[in-house]
């Protein structure tokens, strides 16, 4: 394989990983605070629609679209937060409800606001310029990092911010405390409901941006159900990365690679059915899920006999 193909595949790996990383970052915060959030899918779908709607009504500016998607994503996630914290809803069922509402709500609004069915592309969208990083863009292979959209760099910054927030600040400690033991956190004066509201809202905003990335940067249109299970994949990424921001970022790249390799195979005109290629990320996700539960099980079993040893390493 030539250098150009490798660089190209790596660049599309990063492109595909970006929305997954944003969703997974939201998911890992929820996981840390003890919220089982598979509504990432629905939040992102709402974000994807909101971005297109805002772009349409503000005369084609993707910037306002991204901002609008973050805000509307967060507002939408408030419903989930309300039911999970206030009404003690079952997290799984509430998540599925949020996903169903997102599918129904966006296709309803698509019909009502734009009077189309299936898909809509706003007229006169000004796409964002890709950012070329000087020097790096001329280094072979490493140049894949250059020429990405601003959201990719934003997601990297967010990974570092969330890492610092989780492990170096009191707020992060509170989040982990709520997830570990609600009662202990309460005794220490932390309000679990408040912490959960915060993480769910942040995940809503991040998923909103991820959805906007898919609808305004990857392509320039909203189509019904366009998240295609990426939210579930992101959840798997977060589980596989053990809710650690840096690990989650690396796993996102792995999933991005599964997408990118599929695109590469299709481009090379190999005789593989596109349906099989589209399966790659899901198969990888199932494998990752199995692997992470296997290692988790072993760890738990090991921990019984070696409690002291485990404490030392931790």
């Amino acid at each position: 394989m030539s250098m150009a193909i490798i660089t190209d595949t790596l660049a599309s790996t990063i492109r595909m990983a970006t929305p997954l990383l944003l969703m997974a970052l939201g998911g890992l915060l929820c996981e840390r605070a003890g919220v089982f959030n598979i509504a990432l899918e629905g939040f992102s779908l709402v974000g994807a629609f909101a971005a297109i709607a805002v772009v349409q009504f503000t005369g084609g500016s993707v910037w306002t679209g991204l901002l609008g998607a973050a805000v509307i994503g967060a507002v939408y996630s408030m419903l989930f937060a309300l039911f999970v914290t206030k009404f003690k809803a079952n997290h799984i069922i509430a998540s599925i409800a949020m996903n169903t509402l997102a599918v129904g709500g966006t296709s309803y609004l698509l019909r009502t606001m734009f009077e189309v069915q299936g898909a809509y592309s706003p007229d006169g969208i000004h796409k964002l310029d890709m950012i070329r990083i000087p020097i790096i863009k001329d280094i072979p292979i490493l140049s894949c990092v250059s020429g990405q959209s601003i959201i990719t760099y934003f997601s990297i910054v967010m990974t570092i911010l969330i890492y610092v927030m989780l492990f170096k600040t009191k707020g992060g400690l509170n989040i982990c405390a709520v997830g570990e033991s609600e009662d202990a956190a309460k005794t220490a004066g932390v309000r679990p409901a408040l912490v959960r509201w915060q993480v769910i809202l942040i995940s809503g905003a991040l998923c909103g941006i991820a959805g906007a990335y898919l609808s305004t940067i990857s392509v320039s249109q909203f189509s019904e159900n366009m998240i295609q299970g990426r939210g579930f994949n992101a959840f798997t990424i977060e589980v596989f990365g053990r809710a650690h921001p840096i690990a989650v970022a690396l796993v996102s790249l792995l999933f991005g690679f599964a997408d990118a390799i599929g695109i590469r195979i299709e481009l090379m005109g190999m005789n593989v059915s596109p349906s099989i290629i589209k399966m790659f990320p899901y198969l990888l996700a199932i494998f990752a899920l199995a692997a992470s539960s296997y290692t988790a099980k072993r760890k738990v079993q090991g921990a019984v006999g070696h409690k002291k040893k485990k404490e030392k390493t931790a």
Binding site: F36, I38, L79, F83, K86, F87, K88, A89, N90, I92, I93, A94, I96, A97, M98, T100, L101, V103, G104, G105, S107, Y108, R111, T112, Q117, Q228, G229, F232, N233, F235, T236, V239, S273, P274, S275, I276, K278, M279, Y282, L283, A285, I286, L289, A290, S293, Y294, A296, K297
Partner: protein
């Protein structure tokens, strides 16, 4: 004794009342929603009423897969297992049904070929459900995510079949479908409801419902499912094997899922179509929840959701109201049901009333 029975009836009646209240809340919200966006506000309510009276045939057509999906969910839910993979199991069942149907000769006896088609669909569904079940039992994998992911794999697998080996060479470039099946593999439609595609799958659904009711409430296995679901530790002490029970309920659930696939292929479409399933499995969750995971209740809640779906489709055909509004109604019912606040408050109100009555006496 009689007092106890009275109590049971009152409890059941209050439950039914609560669920009906819940449906009404969702419908009121949806009506407001329609009014706000400038559509005919009562379109959805009218659609449901029509579906339960004039157009009962359409309702039965949609209720068949929904009731079965609800039953598939309630089997596992009783054992505290979330099978969100009914959609995937359904696709696998449909694929197996089609594969068998195209390979048996057109001269074969109608009954025999139908049995062959249905058995293979159920086996395929059950086998596909074994993947997440085995992962759960032996690796401790959370079945919620694994089943969701497998749905995409199954859907793509069907797409792979109908664009590849099972593709009808005579169909156009835009239609990804298998050839029309031979008539000896068609599941008969109910002649009374012609020309609707309401089919005898509805009777199958009722039979499955009756069998499950008996299994749940009259057999040791049903008891085991409940104990494994409510208290796995106790189940182990009592000599039961929770892992075995989990595998069994997932197999039953998957088999029912496969059956839905076979019914949709052999009675409604008469061919395998890519992406033919409008998320019956997901709707099955809310069907089962609305029925409080009771098989008999599932029949009624399935018919309600069938009327809702049918009403939405009719509504879109006649007026310009998007049928997606039915999904909004479903989601509202879903989210209210997920909350625990309805029941305890209601209970408190009831007990307060009882005390008041006692005080009065």
């Amino acid at each position: 004794m009689k007092n106890r029975e009275n109590h049971k009836i009152i409890a059941a009646a209050s439950l039914v009342g609560r669920q009906i209240g819940l449906i009404l809340i969702a419908l009121v919200l949806a009506t407001l929603f329609l009014a706000l966006s400038g559509y005919e506000p009562f379109a959805i309510v009218n659609g449901i009423i029509e579906g339960l009276t004039v157009d009962i045939a359409g309702t039965i057509r949609w209720a068949t897969p929904l009731v079965l999906a609800g039953l598939a969910i309630c089997v596992t839910y009783k054992a505290e297992v979330f099978n969100l993979g009914v959609d995937g199991q359904l696709y696998m069942g449909a694929a197996a049904a089609t594969a068998v149907a195209v390979s048996i000769p057109a001269t074969m006896n109608h009954g025999v070929s139908l049995v062959l088609v249905f058995v293979s669909a159920m086996v395929a569904g059950a086998m596909f459900a074994m993947i997440p079940a085995l992962m759960k039992v032996y690796l401790g994998t959370n079945e919620v995510v694994s089943t969701l992911l497998l749905n995409f794999v199954a859907e793509l697998f069907v797409e792979f079949l109908v664009t590849g080996s099972l593709r009808d060479p005579e169909s156009g470039t835009n239609l990804n479908a298998s050839a029309i099946l031979n008539e000896n593999t068609w599941l008969p439609r109910i002649s009374y409801f012609e020309p609707s595609s309401a089919n005898i799958g509805f009777y199958i659904a009722i039979i499955v419902m009756i069998v499950l009711t008996i299994v749940f409430y009259k057999t040791a296995f049903g008891h085991e499912i409940k104990i494994v679901g409510s208290n796995p530790v106790l189940a182990k002490y009592a000599g039961m094997k929770p892992t075995k029970t989990i595998l069994q309920v997932m197999a039953i659930s998957g088999a029912i899922g496969g059956m839905i696939g076979a019914i949709e292929v052999t009675a409604v479409q008469h061919r395998l179509l890519a992406g033919f399933n409008p998320d019956f499995g997901m709707d099955g969750i809310v069907v089962s929840l609305l029925a409080n995971n009771n098989p008999v209740g599932v029949l009624f809640s399935g018919i309600f959701f069938g009327a809702l779906k049918n009403g939405g489709i009719n509504m879109e055909r006649i007026t310009d109201v998007p049928s997606a509004v039915t999904e909004i109604v479903t989601a509202i019912i879903f989210i209210i049901i997920s909350a625990k606040f309805v029941l305890p408050r209601f209970k408190k109100m009831l007990s307060d009333k009882k005390e008041q009555n006692k005080g009065g006496k």
